[in-house]
């Protein structure tokens, strides 16, 4: 096709010239509709796949992850969402850094990228969440027991707002914020800060120390206020565990 190469050049130009234009926004409902349909499709394909592989998530060859090999997810659906989020995060990192170079309140000043662990986390906490969801995340904490572990709080992740998988079914434990966890992991890994990110529902587990883990407190585990109201717990915590070599590199660099 003789116009192949010329057409490809035009398409590529066209696909990327948009990044120079001001950022668009779409209504939250379109994202929610799309996301709920994606979840439904994944559930359907998971049912179909379960006829092929009887042991489910643990033998899934797609279960490759940076970090420890333990399966930290409740079921395959969360894993699918998580896998979906990773490439998105990788691309978002590039996009946000490209767009915000030198901008005010942007991701970086004068086109430099973040390489330090803590500043990258602050970036995600602030700019990234703000650019994606319109508001910064609600908290960033470091775990005292494990120096490599950090936590980002999100009071109402947009994925969970309108997606209800039913309380009684086995899928009721699925946290759709696994999608956002994958997104964060994609961003971090793409910035060479390899980590494993998981999403946990706050207030879903039994009361441990029972303290209020606000942004100033540092603690391990997901404490829940006793007698949390039913259905009111949509706060999600993204637990970020960095790989050993990243932590060593950070300490060596300081």
């Amino acid at each position: 096709m003789k116009k192949g190469s010329a057409m490809n050049a035009t398409l590529a130009d066209f696909a990327f010239e948009r990044t120079l234009k001001p950022r668009q926004e779409v209504s939250l409902s379109s994202f929610s509709f799309l996301f709920s349909e994606i979840v439904q499709q994944l559930m359907k394909s998971e049912k179909a796949a379960s006829y092929h592989a009887h042991s489910g998530a643990l033998t899934d060859p797609m279960l490759q992850s940076a970090g420890s090999g333990t399966c930290h997810l409740n079921n395959d659906l969360e894993h699918q969402l998580y896998q979906l989020g990773i490439p998105i995060g990788e691309k978002l990192l590039e996009l946000l850094f490209y767009r915000e170079k030198g901008g005010q309140g942007g991701a970086c000043s004068s086109g430099k990228r973040e390489t330090k662990l803590v500043s990258m986390l602050h970036l995600i906490n602030g700019s990234v969440f703000k650019a994606l969801f319109g508001r910064p995340a609600d908290g960033l904490e470091q775990s005292i027991e494990d120096e490599d572990e950090y936590r980002i709080l999100d009071r109402s992740p947009i994925t969970n707002k309108f997606a209800n998988l039913g309380k009684n079914s086995q899928l009721g434990q699925t946290n759709c914020a696994a999608f956002i966890a994958g997104l964060i992991e994609g961003m971090l890994c793409s910035a060479k800060l390899y980590a494993k990110v998981t999403a946990h529902l706050y207030g879903d587990e039994e009361a441990g120390a029972g303290g209020d883990a606000q942004a100033t407190a540092e603690g391990e585990g997901a404490e829940t206020p006793a007698g949390a109201g039913a259905g009111a717990t949509s706060t999600t915590i993204y637990v970020i565990k960095f790989a050993k070599e990243v932590a060593v590199r950070e300490r060596a660099g300081q």
Partner: protein, 205 residues
């Protein structure tokens, strides 16, 4: 009167869009793209014949996207009326087309679609999209370039929404920027208007 009616829908669409909570359009585009990518990979994996990159499952992916859009459209139309309660009945297909293109698209996607190419019997029209938020940053691979309608979800949405309003339509893409055309054009054809069927009550009690 035509131009005044036009800007009315567009204005209403903009107002509602401005009032509603929003997310980044890039997130939508990337999410959709990751999902379409996954569909292409998965469908290729389950069929044992050819590899996933050969473009053979484009038709299946088109069908899946259309079905998903249909489900979305059925529910989206309720949301549309909830957000725009003053929207009354449309007198004819012309009005319907304008409402979809100028108000609904604006409300949900933040872009407007032009209405054009009404056919002689007023039973079909085209929606022209200059910019498609779903297709940001997308380049179709060569194998799929002429088989996959990337934004087929939108066709399903329109089909589902109108079916909830008793209008059976066929909606398909004619042109797509991703294929190298100058704009994205969707053709909507009215097949029939479904009359409400009232079931016989149990008269004998």
């Amino acid at each position: 009167m035509a131009s005044k009616g036009q800007s009315l829908h567009a204005k209403a669409g903009e107002n509602i869009f401005a009032k509603n909570p929003k997310v980044s359009a890039e997130l939508l585009a990337l999410t959709y793209g990751a999902f379409v990518h996954r569909l292409i990979k998965d469908d290729g994996a389950t069929t044992s014949s050819a590899s996933a990159g050969s473009g053979e499952n484009a038709e299946e992916v088109n069908a899946i996207l259309d079905k998903m859009g249909y489900n979305i459209g059925c529910r989206m139309v309720d949301e549309f009326f909830a957000k725009a309660p003053q929207q009354g009945l449309c007198r004819d297909l012309n009005d319907t087309a304008k409402v979809i293109g100028e108000q609904a698209f604006k409300m949900f996607l933040g872009v407007t679609a032009e209405v054009s190419s009404f056919d002689s019997e007023n039973k079909a029209f085209s929606l022209i999209l200059r910019e498609n938020p779903l297709a940001d940053f997308v380049i179709l691979p060569a194998a799929y370039a002429n088989k996959l309608w990337y934004s087929n979800l939108l066709c399903g949405v329109i089909r589902g929404a109108l079916e909830m309003l008793n209008m059976k339509v066929a909606c398909y893409f004619r042109k797509d920027i991703l294929r190298g055309h100058d704009c994205t054009e969707m053709r909507v054809e009215l097949k029939e208007i479904i009359k409400d069927k009232y079931e016989e009550d149990d008269d004998e009690k």
